[in-house]
């Protein structure tokens, strides 16, 4: 290991160069979020917060968001492990093309994913139509609008994110450790359990955090697909624009942000 400590320079230069970032974060993140929290806390008796946490639509929306995001995060990470490992560690023709294909949906907004879902699994979707043509029976009609369809759509936009996050973690994973385990007599399963998974644990956790956060904030998928099942961002939007109920929208936004941050913190415990 070569010593790469930075040459001693003025830390004032550093502070000055970071100043725009500091100012921006303060103005566009800290201030709005603090005001959001301030509103909720200065509200006598925390009425709006209590309203959100009381049984009913808002709480259901929050719980739905948490559940759906957790399911999407877990599902996408589980499904992403093998492809991420293959992309990171195996050499075969077409690997880069596969990676590009998998990363394409990363730029899709939720509404686009929702639309793709309707194209495939709407009442007149490609899949039910194809199945009807092939089997003569109508199946999966309107599946896009069910909770299962919503989950599939969340998986669709979380999977590329999960694969890319895990892949870059796996690529940093020293190849020699696997050789060392083999030389010490460990078979494939033991290597996976005793070396692979423990070493991958931080990456798996941070991938869960990334996908979970993205799902919690997502709004477009539910906007297009959600029929009866509601999620927190959708309720925030409804309260804000449909009911002018800024207090509840604010409390809901605060709860959404706090629960996302809390889960993120929880997942990063023990990191580094």
């Amino acid at each position: 290991m070569t010593d790469r400590r930075p040459p001693t320079g003025s830390s004032l230069t550093g502070a000055l160069l970071s100043l725009p970032l500091v100012l921006f974060l303060a103005a566009a993140v800290a201030w709005p979020l603090a005001s959001l929290a301030g509103h909720a806390l200065s509200d006598p008796g925390w009425r709006a917060v209590r309203q959100v946490l009381a049984a009913g639509r808002y709480r259901t929306a929050l719980v739905n968001s948490l559940g759906l995001s957790a399911a999407a995060a877990l599902g996408s990470v589980l499904l992403a492990v093998a492809p991420a490992w293959v992309l990171a560690r195996e050499r075969f023709p077409g690997r880069n093309a596969l990676r590009t294909a998998i990363s394409l949906p990363l730029t899709f907004s939720g509404v686009l994913v929702g639309f793709l879902m309707v194209v495939l699994l709407g009442r007149i979707g490609a899949i039910p139509e194809a199945l009807a043509y092939l089997t003569g029976r109508r199946m999966f009609e309107g599946a896009a609008y069910t909770v299962a369809g919503l989950f599939l759509a969340y998986l669709y936009f979380e999977l590329p994110r999960a694969v890319m996050t895990l892949e870059s973690a796996f690529r940093r994973f020293p190849r020699e450790l696997d050789s060392a385990a083999r030389a010490l007599g460990a078979g494939p399963l033991q290597r996976l359990l005793k070396v692979g998974l423990p070493l991958a644990a931080p990456a798996l956790r941070s991938t869960l955090a990334v996908t979970f956060s993205a799902s919690m904030g997502s709004f477009g998928v539910a906007l297009i697909l959600s029929r009866r099942f509601t999620v927190a961002p959708l309720e925030i939007y409804t309260e804000m624009t449909g009911f002018l109920n800024d207090e509840v929208a604010g409390a809901l936004a605060l709860m959404l942000a706090l629960s996302t941050l809390a889960v993120d913190r929880l997942l990063s415990v023990g990191k580094r």
Partner: protein, 357 residues
């Protein structure tokens, strides 16, 4: 365990890395493979431990073909250049790792049982004691110095008492001073263990110190193998001569007519006349710097440069015949630059490296 490598070849794509290498690792001895970078020595190690599989040839452990046997069933211990310590495990857990795996000999003949808990602790402790790691057992690798990491890697490799120990430049990540002390300790330890050992290095001193059997590799081929001192004294190619220590290679012209091949002939060289093998078709006279000495009857030479190195002085001389040579003189007698000296060769029968076709 006796290991035979028979006509083994390996290539990355179309680039040959190891080309029909054959060698024999003496049982219980240390075989050191030395060669410049890219000579295929690490690849050879990976072929021996089964991380790579040869395209051609066989590897035999005690006469049994293990060519297709996966690494985990070969009963080998490996110390990697980067150590490859498991960062998520403590020193204790790293050392215990190989004792808890389903390590099996490639044949069921000597299959080992998993040790009991107490037995396991004893074995870890033994390995740790062997390398003075007792006080570090609960640390994580990231909390260790380079030298400590090196010892843990070794302890981990030897703890399961493998039949073959493979070390891939284990000292190259250490700084020069540490390398020298560790080198001596390592030599003592490996001798004490008495395990058949395959050791890869590019450092000549390390090789001389450790090797029972020395193999010089160049461009994927074995150039010469044998007793280390023998290789030093009697290299068969200029490459081996200059790779193992400093060498003066003085060109000797072929004799115009070949007398009887068995009759030694005298040949004149810039450093004097010597008895050479009769079959000589030309070649080089190998004179190690320490073999040159001041000799009142010797060849006239001018001192170009002289520098005290401690144990000896390093003197560069220009012979009057126009050849430049390097000599190691003892410090008391070393001449100053610019002076003229007469030099000669200590031995009457220096080594002759013949031209090869």
């Amino acid at each position: 365990m006796k290991v035979h490598v028979e006509d083994v070849s390996f290539a990355y794509g179309r680039e040959p890395v190891v080309s029909s290498v054959s060698m024999e690792l003496p049982e219980g001895g240390i075989t050191v493979v030395i060669g410049p970078s890219g000579s295929g020595k690490s690849t050879l190690l990976q072929l021996l431990c089964g991380l790579l599989h040869p395209l051609q040839g066989q590897i035999l452990f005690d006469g049994e073909d293990v060519t297709g046997v996966p690494t985990e069933r070969r009963d080998v211990g490996v110390v990697f250049q980067s150590y490859a310590l498991f960062p998520h495990l403590t020193v204790r857990e790293n050392i215990a790792f190989g004792l808890q795996t389903g390590r099996r000999r490639f044949s069921l003949r000597s299959s080992r049982r998993r040790p009991t808990r107490r037995h396991l602790e004893e074995r870890v402790w033994d390995a740790a004691a062997l390398l003075s790691l007792e006080r570090l057992l609960d640390r994580k690798p990231s909390q260790l110095s380079g030298g400590e990491q090196q010892r843990v890697a070794l302890a981990r490799a030897v703890a399961p008492r493998p039949s073959l120990l493979l070390l891939d430049e284990p000292l190259s990540a250490l700084d020069a001073r540490l390398r020298r002390t560790v080198r001596a300790e390592l030599a003592a330890l490996l001798r004490k263990l008495g395990t058949t050992t395959f050791y890869v290095t590019h450092d000549q001193e390390e090789a001389m110190l450790l090797a029972d059997h020395l193999v010089v590799l160049d461009q994927g081929r074995v150039v010469q193998a044998g007793d280390p001192l023998d290789l030093y004294r009697r290299p068969q190619t200029p490459f081996v001569a200059s790779f193992l220590g400093e060498a003066n290679l003085v060109e000797v012209e072929a004799l115009p007519s070949g007398p009887s091949p068995v009759v030694p002939v005298r040949s004149h060289t810039p450093l004097g006349s010597f008895v050479l093998p009769g079959a000589c078709q030309g070649g080089w006279l190998l004179v190690r710097p320490e073999d040159l000495t001041e000799d009142p009857c010797g060849t006239m030479a001018t001192v170009l440069d002289s520098r005290g190195m401690g144990p000896h002085d390093r003197v560069i001389l220009l012979l009057d015949t126009g050849t430049e040579v390097l000599a190691h003189f003892s410090s008391e007698t070393a001449p100053a630059p610019g002076t003229k000296v007469r030099i000669g060769v200590r031995t009457r029968r220096p080594h002759f490296v013949a031209h090869r076709d």
